[in-house]
Symmetry: C2
């Protein structure tokens, strides 16, 4: 757990990036354990996560409504309703989604569950590597 | 592969059940191998699949538009946009989706990929058990 309030250095992680993010777990309550499915809403200005990549778990997103900007090592990519993006396990392509529009945007995020094998590597801040 | 045209016994599998089903793979072209994500459209009258359950693979569906009827061992359940349903691996609850409305309906289907471990058991017909 990161205490955002203690991390106020210039240019680094800012708590307000995540204030407009809300997430609901759809698959876990239904007994699904091999992958997770989250329904995520980003308010204008909000970020999905710190920019990161997964060592062991595949990750996939599908935009349901609104407009989002995917930022990864290849640049910036606009995603609209019906767009998908995938991040295969072990590919060191740090990524996250940002809502730069004036309206909320929603997407489904699917990720496999490989606790024990998984390492998440974060970029652009001092969080570094997190094992889970 | 089943030759539907040869299977015309009363009450069994009918080819027209699937004529209105179209499916696009979203995750595979993006390099995702640990799970599959299919965008499925069912025309009025179409079925998602024969009623079945998976031995090794979790399965999850999320309705994007329209109205579908989930048929499983517990009966019939109407699903509308935003509804989810989950089918954990190894639970012998035969299920499928049917579009009984007058308009097309779309859903995302997520399934883990465990070739070698997987056995699909079909109900309501003579297909029986299929290993993959």
């Amino acid at each position: 757990m990161i205490d955002w309030a203690d991390r106020a250095w210039p240019g680094a992680v800012k708590p307000e990036w995540f204030a407009g993010q809300s997430e609901g777990r759809l698959a876990k309550p239904l007994g699904i354990t091999q992958f997770g499915v989250n329904l995520v809403t980003l308010a204008p200005g909000a970020y999905s996560a710190l920019r990161h990549w997964h060592a062991a778990e595949d990750e996939f997103v599908h935009v349901l409504s609104g407009e989002l900007v995917l930022i990864d090592d290849h640049g910036e990519h606009v995603l609209t309703a019906g767009s998908s993006a995938g991040f295969p396990a072990g590919v060191a392509n740090g990524h996250h989604l940002v809502n730069r529009s004036e309206a909320p945007a929603t997407f489904l995020a699917v990720g496999s569950r490989r606790p024990g094998d998984e390492v998440v590597t974060y970029l652009d801040d001092e969080v570094g590597v997190v094992r889970k």
